[in-house]
C-alpha cells in the first residue's frame, strides 16, 4: 500500500509541483529586476496563487464527487471526453503563455512602451494561474479518487491508514525535492536563458498533457488509433522510474501511434513557429515605425 500510494501520488501530484516550481522561477525573474523594470512588469501578488490553490481544491472535491455520474455520460465515455477537454485547455493555456512570454521578452528587449508591457505581463500572470488551476483540477481529482477508493466502504481502513499517510508524506517529500531542485537549477541561470528554458519546458509539458488527452479519446474509440510505429521500451521502459518521470513531464510514449506522433510534432512546432512569426511581425513593425518617424 505504501509503495502504491507513493507511485500514485507521484503520477498525479508531481505535475502540480513542477508547474508551481516553474511559476516561482518565472516570477523570480521579475524580483531580480531593477526598480524601473519592476514597475514595468506589475506581476500579480502571491495572494492570487493561494486563492487559485484554494479554488482548485474546491473544484477537485466537486469533480471527484460527480465523477461516477460523469463517467456514465455519452455511453460511458463521459469521463474521457471531459478530461480530454481539460487536457486540451491546459495545452491551449500553455501555448498562450508561451506566445506571451516570447512577445513580452521581445518587447522588453526593444525597450518598448510601459503600458503595453505591463498589460502583457499581467495577462501572462493570469494565464499562469489558469494553467496551475487546470493542472491541479485534472491531476488532483485523480489522486483524490484514489484516496476515496481506499477510505470509502473499506473495512481494512485501520490497517491501510498508516500506509497511506506515510506514502503521502514520502510522495510529498520526493515532489518537493524535485520541485526545489528544478527551481534552484533555473534560478542559477541567466535571466534570458531562464525565461526561454521555462517557457520551452512548459510547452513540452503542455504537449505531454495534450497527448494524454488524445490517448483518452483513442481509448474510447472517438479517435481511431493504429498499430504502434516503434517501441523504445528496450531503451526507456514506460514502467521504469525514468519512464514514469518522462511520461508525467513530457508525455513520453514508448509505443506511439501515427496520430500521436503527428499531434506531438504539430503541437510542438506550431507554437514555436507562431512565436517566431509574431516576433518577426513586431520587429518589422518597429523598424517601419522608426523609418516613418
Amino acid at each position: 500500500m505504501l509503495i502504491n500510494t507513493v507511485l500514485v501520488f507521484l503520477q498525479n501530484i508531481l505535475p502540480i509541483f513542477v508547474v508551481l516550481s516553474l511559476w516561482f522561477a518565472q516570477r523570480d525573474v521579475s524580483h531580480q529586476m531593477s526598480k524601473q523594470e519592476k514597475q514595468n512588469t506589475s506581476d500579480l501578488p502571491l495572494i492570487y496563487l493561494l486563492k487559485t490553490l484554494a479554488m482548485g481544491l474546491i473544484i477537485v472535491l466537486f469533480l471527484s464527487y460527480f465523477m461516477p455520474e460523469v463517467s456514465q455520460l455519452f455511453s460511458g465515455t463521459g469521463l474521457e471526453i471531459v478530461y480530454s477537454i481539460l487536457f486540451s485547455l491546459i495545452y491551449c493555456s500553455i501555448v498562450i503563455s508561451f506566445l506571451h512570454t516570447r512577445v513580452t521578452g521581445h518587447i522588453s528587449e526593444q525597450g518598448k512602451t510601459l503600458p503595453k508591457q505591463q498589460r502583457l505581463t499581467q495577462q501572462k500572470s493570469v494565464v499562469s494561474l489558469v494553467i496551475l488551476l487546470l493542472v491541479l483540477c485534472v491531476h488532483g481529482s485523480n489522486f483524490s479518487l484514489y484516496i476515496m477508493s481506499l477510505t470509502i466502504q473499506n473495512p481494512a481502513m485501520d490497517i491501510l491508514y498508516s500506509g497511506i499517510v506515510v506514502g503521502v508524506i514520502i510522495g510529498t517529500g520526493i515532489c518537493l525535492s524535485i520541485a526545489i531542485l528544478l527551481y534552484f537549477v533555473l534560478v542559477t541561470l541567466v535571466k534570458k536563458t531562464r525565461c526561454q528554458l521555462v517557457c520551452y519546458f512548459l510547452l513540452l509539458f503542455g504537449v505531454g498533457q495534450l497527448i494524454q488527452g488524445l490517448q483518452l479519446l483513442e481509448q474510447v474509440d472517438i479517435i481511431s488509433s493504429n498499430v504502434a510505429l516503434w517501441s523504445t521500451n528496450y531503451l526507456i521502459a514506460e514502467d521504469s522510474e525514468l519512464g514514469y518521470f518522462l511520461t508525467i513531464l513530457f508525455g513520453y510514449e514508448a509505443t506511439p501511434s501515427v496520430i500521436e506522433l503527428l499531434v506531438y510534432l504539430c503541437a510542438l512546432t506550431v507554437p514555436i513557429l507562431s512565436a517566431k512569426l509574431l516576433v518577426y511581425k513586431q520587429s518589422s513593425m518597429t523598424s517601419f515605425m522608426k523609418g516613418t518617424s
Binding site: 484514489y146 477508493s149 490517448q215 474510447v220 474509440d221 498499430v227
Partner: protein, 136 residues
C-alpha cells in the same frame, strides 16, 4: 482588399481540411463494428486473468467492476488507463496489436488485480464462444 481576404480564405481551407480529416476519423471509428470481450473485477481479482484476442484488430473490452470500491484499470503496454467505478461497467477499446503478451493491472490493488491480454496471430474461434469461455 484582396490582400485582406487572402489569409481568411487560406484559413478557411485549412479549417475545412482539418474538419474533413476529423470527420473521417470520427465516422470511421463510429461505424466500425468491434468484437466484444468481457472482464469481471471481483474482490480485487480479474476474471479471466488471461484472455486471447485477435492480432491487428481493434476490440471492445467491457470491464465489470463488481467490487464496492473504485479501481483503475491500467496497462503500460496497452496504453490504457480507465477508472472503474463500483458496481458499474466500463468500456475501453484496445488494439490493433501485434502478437504478444500485454499485461494489465488494477492501479489501486496492483498485487492482486493482475491480468494478461494474449494477442494471438492465428485465427480465433467464433467471438461469442470466445467471450463466454473467457467470462466463465
Amino acid at each position: 482588399m484582396t490582400n485582406m481576404l487572402k489569409p481568411s480564405l487560406t484559413q478557411c481551407h485549412v479549417t475545412l481540411f482539418v474538419s474533413y480529416i476529423l470527420l473521417f476519423m470520427l465516422s470511421f471509428s463510429a461505424l466500425a463494428e468491434r468484437q466484444e470481450f468481457t472482464v469481471i473485477l471481483k474482490e480485487h481479482l480479474f476474471y479471466p486473468a488471461e484472455m486471447t484476442i485477435p492480432a491487428n484488430k481493434k476490440i471492445k473490452l467491457v470491464i465489470d467492476n463488481q467490487d464496492d470500491s473504485i479501481e483503475e484499470f491500467d496497462s503500460f503496454s496497452l496504453n490504457r488507463e480507465k477508472v472503474l467505478f463500483p458496481k458499474r461497467k466500463s468500456v475501453i477499446y484496445i488494439g490493433p496489436l501485434s502478437p504478444g503478451h500485454y499485461a494489465f493491472f488494477g492501479e489501486y490493488h496492483p498485487n492482486s488485480a493482475r491480468g494478461m491480454v494474449i494477442v494471438s496471430g492465428t485465427e480465433l474461434v467464433a467471438p461469442a464462444d470466445r467471450e463466454t469461455d473467457d467470462v466463465n
